[in-house]
Amino acid sequence: MAIIKKPKAVKIKQNHLLGIQDLSFSDVSEIINEAKTFIQLNRSSSKKMDLLRGKTQINLFFEPSTRTQSSFELAGKRLGADVMSMNIVNSAIKKGETLIDTAMTLNAMHPDIIVIRHQDSGAPNLLSQKVNCAVINAGDGRREHPTQALLDALTIINRRGKVEGLKIAICGDILHSRVARSNIYLMNMLGAEVNIVAPKTLLPHSIERLGVKVFTDMKKGLDKCDIVMMLRLQNERMQGSFLPSPREYYEYFGLTPDKISVAKKDALIMHPGPMNRGVEIDTNLADDINRSVIREQVELGVAVRMACLKLFCKKIS
């Protein structure tokens, strides 16, 4: 399957994984190649390794998360790290402690890696300036969600052999989506052609400057696409009215058998989850085992996170 060129013993230059924007092509190749080695391990009966034995990983989640947090937790544990997940609801942050103070406190406990999710864009960058360990961004505001984009790339490579030359449509709430931004950077870097499809109210300013084609009509945007990435409508981030109703949104932007018919016959359907069935995606399409790779994304997510933990943790020690 693997068609990404094997890099010549390149080392990742960054100390932290803050975003796809900071990575080079060879960094990405190294992460993907590393992740591939973990796919089989994760499917075997004995999943535990001791690559990160003695290392401490802290998961610092300021936003609720099920899949990303558990994925990072599993990834760390499978590599043998001691994993601690901070429950922010009960922490000092709720008592008014600033992010930097929290970082300094945690830093004093000598972690080797901190995985952070935060509602403010740039929070992982700030954290990385203050701690002595590797910082991995598990999603910050609307800015980036690098491991999600990396697992999406791995899923595509797993199925299609490569990303280069593919036509990828990213559809839905682009405005509030860090997944969209990270995927735009990554898929562009890997040589795909990226289409964005969204209602005008959910398009960020000057998004075309990121190297994408912009559509407001699903059928035009999905035309001859190899990959259709649906995004979740992020109602919790919306201040005020962006759409008339979920019903109208589904009518024009929901992924239905009719709309996907213009894409390539074997087009893959992806979704970072959690899904709003019947809002952005037809429920049968989401479960269509011939097309939907949504569950595979979750599976490979663990492998990608293991690769990231391994590569960035090593970097620091």
Partner: protein, 431 residues
């Protein structure tokens, strides 16, 4: 006080269209007695105090129309003494202080406090502004007449905009009776809600919610429409976008009488300077595109924009060491106002006399105060500068209590060497 003779200076006095090599005499009361090219080394009385300026430039002390003092309530950010030191080091001798304090400057008793603190702790002239509405809540107008009589120079909600159009029209209508100066911070609250930086490519890349330039333009257009019905002394505090400059240009061409300002930050920086979430560049109005910056320069050149302000807003370290969304807005800048503005002269963006006018005679005219010129009989508030001297901005060298400069490590050309207030040499830079 003895008479003082300042000689061998290049005197630039935009109000009187003077740009000559000569001298200036300060009388024993600290007033300007005379100035011009006839005052030279040859015709000085022998017992007078003489200061040879060695061809440095002598201009009126600067009038900065937008400065935040921490008193009362935020003394840990800036107090009158530190503000005064910072201002003098930048050649600023008069400031309009914003009313966004704790409590807000919205009643007569607060004015006495400000005047007393200003007089006792600072060496500069403080022209306090009071709020347009009680507690800057945007609901109930303040006592324009009574406050003005007490010595309030202008009215503004400072960092806030009067959103309610009915109230704004009534404010303009009522304030005209007392000939009060209304200064609007133009930003539509709803359009800018949650916004952190300019709405554009950078906000998309950084994942920060944008503030559209329309939020500014819409308020300016609204207020200029009101101005037709309810004429008053009206000033737009800070313009940040090309769109608003165009609106102002057209309105002025159509004969409307009002004035507008711009922050030196918006003239010298753009949204790209925010870089990797630098919270010191979180400003209001936000830094916009290079195109907007160039339009603002054009606006200064064609007279659409009348004044340049520092928008000096000191913030303590704790307010800035946060994520971009949580960090406080504003930058310290009173002491770098002139040197940073001189960059626009050195790179041929704005002519020197024009540039100086925007920080001296123009604000004085809008405020209707006897400052910002070298008129005979005025207080000798003077700024002497070495226009070519190169230097580098260093946070720790700033005199302001808070060090949140947006131009750390910037190489500038031109520095203030001496500042006079009421004839006294209150600041002298160590060589």
């Amino acid at each position: 006080m003895k008479e003082k003779y300042l000689i061998n200076a290049r005197i630039i006095d935009p109000k009187n269209q003077v740009d000559v090599i000569g001298g200036l005499i300060i009388d024993e009361n600290g007033k300007i007695k005379a100035s011009g090219k006839k005052i030279t080394i040859q015709n000085l009385p022998s017992d007078s105090e003489i200061l040879d300026l060695k061809n440095q430039i002598l201009i009126p002390g600067l009038v900065d129309m937008r400065v935040f003092v921490g008193e009362p309530g935020y003394e840990y950010k800036e107090n009158f003494r530190t503000l005064s030191d910072a201002a003098l080091s930048g050649g600023v001798t008069s400031v309009v202080s914003m009313p966004n304090t704790l409590p807000v400057i919205d009643n007569v008793s607060m004015v006495d406090f400000l005047k007393r603190r200003g007089r006792d702790k600072s060496k500069i002239n403080i022209f306090p502004a009071a709020s347009l509405t009680k507690n800057t809540d945007g609901k109930q107008m303040t006592e324009f007449g009574l406050l003005k009589r007490k010595g309030i120079a202008a009215f503004t909600d400072g960092t806030k905009t009067v959103q309610d159009p009915q109230l704004m029209s009534r404010i303009m209508s009522f304030a005209s009776q007392s000939e009060s100066l209304i200064m609007q911070h133009a930003e539509d609250n709803i359009l800018s809600k949650g916004g952190l930086i300019n709405d554009g490519e950078i906000s998309t890349r950084l994942g920060l919610q944008g503030i559209p330039s329309l939020a500014e333009k819409i308020i300016v257009e609204r207020d200029l429409s009101f101005l037709e019905e309810y004429f008053c002394r009206y000033h737009i505090s800070q313009v940040s976008s090309e769109k608003t400059v165009s609106t102002i240009r057209l309105a002025k061409k159509a004969g409307k009488i009002f004035s507008a300002g711009v922050s030196i930050n918006n003239l010298s920086l753009n949204e790209n300077d925010i870089g990797d979430f630098r919270t010191f560049l979180k400003l209001s109005p936000p830094l916009r595109t290079e195109n907007d910056r160039l339009a603002l320069i054009e606006g200064v050149n064609d007279g659409s924009i009348d004044v340049i302000v520092s928008d000096h807003k000191p913030q303590d370290e704790e307010s800035k060491r946060l994520t971009f969304a949580q960090a406080a807005t504003g930058a310290a800048g009173v002491e770098t106002l002139l040197p940073l503005a001189l960059e626009l002269y050195h790179n041929n963006s704005i002519k020197l006399d024009k540039l100086i006018a925007t920080m001296t005679s123009n604000p004085a005219k809008i405020l209707q105060i006897n400052k910002g010129s070298l008129d005979t009989g005025n207080d000798a508030d003077l700024c002497i500068l070495d226009i070519n001297k190169p230097w580098v901005v260093k946070q720790h060298e700033l005199k302001s209590k808070s060090k949140n400069t947006p131009i750390e490590d910037r190489k500038l050309q031109g520095i203030v060497t001496n500042t006079f207030v009421k004839g006294k040499n209150v600041f002298c830079r160590n060589k």
